[in-house]
Amino acid sequence: MKKLKNLISYLLLPIVTVLVFSSCARSPKPIEYGKDNCAFCNMTIMDKKWGAEYVSDKGKLYKFDSIECLISFYLKQGLSGSVTENSLWTVDYTNENGLINAENSFYLKSASLKSPMGLNVASFGSLNDLKKFQNNEDKVISWLELLPIVKAGW
């Protein structure tokens, strides 16, 4: 009887561990293009160059079709106080479905980049990748500089 109990606990232990830790993990999930809808504008997310995600403290995922929708959601919901590290993500323009930390990304605002919601801001993980798409007058901007631009222009 005791053996059986031991056996059960040995079997259960890994399962319980997996359950406990998986429910705690707050990581973004890849966007399913053509299936997922934007949590802000409701459009079906289609273009792999664009996209963003917000992972709430409780681990709930919100997916967006563009950076402007993520920021509009962020501003509208007043998230600036409650957002912790690793909860805001954007899709790297050059890397299909590569989600990168939004607060550390480089942003390029350029008329030649046509984002789904018309603000024309793309996100890059590396400055070298960004330079390939940069025209003369285009500015590189940071997350903090981007917030007021979305607030004013959108």
């Binding site: 504008c41 409701n42 459009m43 289609m46 160059k49 046509k114």
Partner: protein
């Protein structure tokens, strides 16, 4: 009025060309490319392509020309180069020919025909096959896109383009086109004073018509069906949507018509049939929805609390699983004198108007909008019982959301 002036202008233009221009017949045997022939022509000339397949792309039309031919005159981009024809001059017309196999790209919006900063152009009766972006107008004005057939083969989202794509345009007339299997059939972003009439847009990956930041436009007499997500009209004022058909748009995020931040618009005489949701409205205000047929949908109408002053009148609501769903217990929209097929009231004074109000929001639809998974209980005995109890003593559903004067007979 502008339409008439516009037509007169085109007639004058056509006459001018007929009187002064010469015509060059271009055949397969000519030992120069289409581009070289174009370069050799003068302003107002016509280039007639004879039947055959021409493998060429990156053709640039930078002077006022007419290019015409039968549908058997085929320009084949062979999936190389980039955009097949770029129009960079005013007053260019392309008619009759077929264009196929434009190059696809993840980063560049290559098109079968691209119009760049031009006005008074005309694309007519052209067939596009395997189009990435079909007809792409960037910063154009006063042009006609008429009678074209666009066949895409979009299967993967990232490698798909739009059928007729307008960006920063005004005064564009889109008439009698057929579009299928693109990402969005017709795409409008920052467009004003334009017309979409008599078109059919079907089987597109996402939207039959996608409409953003495009004030003062109208779309009438179109058919939008079997699209991945229906039709989306967003962030716009003054849109007229009349006599259109929205049907067979099924899917968890599929709408006959999705309205987001729409102001001062009209939705009249349309048919919404066999959609998961007929009309969905979010953040919209001052909209007149009248004389529509809304039938055989999962949800006829979903209105989110953020929508204000939407009036529904003289509509026929027939055999929908749910007539109206909302996420609010308040109501700031009006339903009056509609026909509801499941209305069970009576009309003692025989004036055609039911004597007891109709409550279009079922308790269950309110529950479902709060908790989507509970749709599982649809048609269960318990839910029917709940609905009945709520009907007799309304306590949760919005009390103000009623049709005080429901019609007894369907409007014909």
């Amino acid at each position: 009025m502008t339409g008439i002036i516009f037509k007169i202008l085109i007639v004058i233009l056509a006459l001018q060309t007929a009187l002064f221009a010469k015509t060059l017949n271009y055949t397969m045997k000519s030992n120069r490319t289409i581009q070289q022939s174009i370069d050799a022509l003068d302003k107002n000339d016509t280039l007639v392509l004879s039947d055959g397949i021409y493998y060429e792309s990156l053709i640039n039309i930078s002077k006022q020309l007419i290019i015409t031919g039968s549908s058997k005159a085929i320009i084949d981009g062979n999936n190389k180069g980039g955009t097949i024809i770029t129009i960079s001059s005013d007053n260019v017309a392309i008619a009759g020919i077929t264009i196929r196999n434009v190059m696809k790209s993840a980063f560049r919006d290559f098109a079968s025909i691209k119009l760049n900063k031009v006005s008074n152009c005309r694309i007519e009766n052209v067939t596009l096959i395997n189009a990435f972006f079909g007809i792409y107008l960037s910063e154009c004005s006063y042009s006609n896109i008429i009678g074209n057939k666009i066949f895409g083969n979009s299967r993967v989202e990232s490698m798909s383009g739009n059928g007729i794509h307008l960006w920063h345009c005004k005064g564009i007339n889109i008439f009698n086109n057929y579009i299928e299997n693109q990402r969005d059939g017709i795409y409008f972003e920052f467009v004003s004073n334009s017309w979409i009439t008599n078109n059919e847009s079907a089987k597109n990956l996402r939207y039959g018509l996608h409409f953003m930041f495009s004030d003062n436009c109208s779309y009438n007499n179109n058919k939008f069906h079997s699209n991945g997500a229906g039709v989306a009209v967003m962030y716009t004022r003054n849109v007229n949507m009349q006599h259109n058909l929205f049907y067979n748009n099924w899917g968890p995020a599929s709408y006959g018509l999705l309205l987001k931040d729409i102001r001062d618009s009209k939705i009249q005489h349309n048919t919404f049939k066999n959609n998961t949701t007929g009309i969905y409205a979010e953040g919209s205000r001052n909209i007149m929805v009248s004389d529509n047929f809304i039938g055989m949908n999962g949800w006829a109408v979903k209105i989110l609390a953020s929508s204000v002053n939407i009036t529904f009148t003289r509509n026929n609501f027939v055999s929908n699983s749910f007539n109206v769903a909302t996420n609010s217990s308040q109501n700031s929209n009006t339903f009056i004198r509609n026909y509801w097929s499941d209305y069970s009231g009576y009309d003692l004074d025989k004036n055609g108007i039911g004597d007891v109000p109709y409550h279009p929001v079922r308790l269950f639809s309110y529950l479902v909008s709060r908790n989507e998974q509970s749709i599982f209980l649809l048609h269960s005995f318990f839910i029917d019982l709940l609905d009945l109890a709520e009907k007799v003593f309304p306590s949760i559903t919005p009390v103000a959301l009623i049709d005080k004067e429901p019609l007894m007979k369907q409007i014909k």
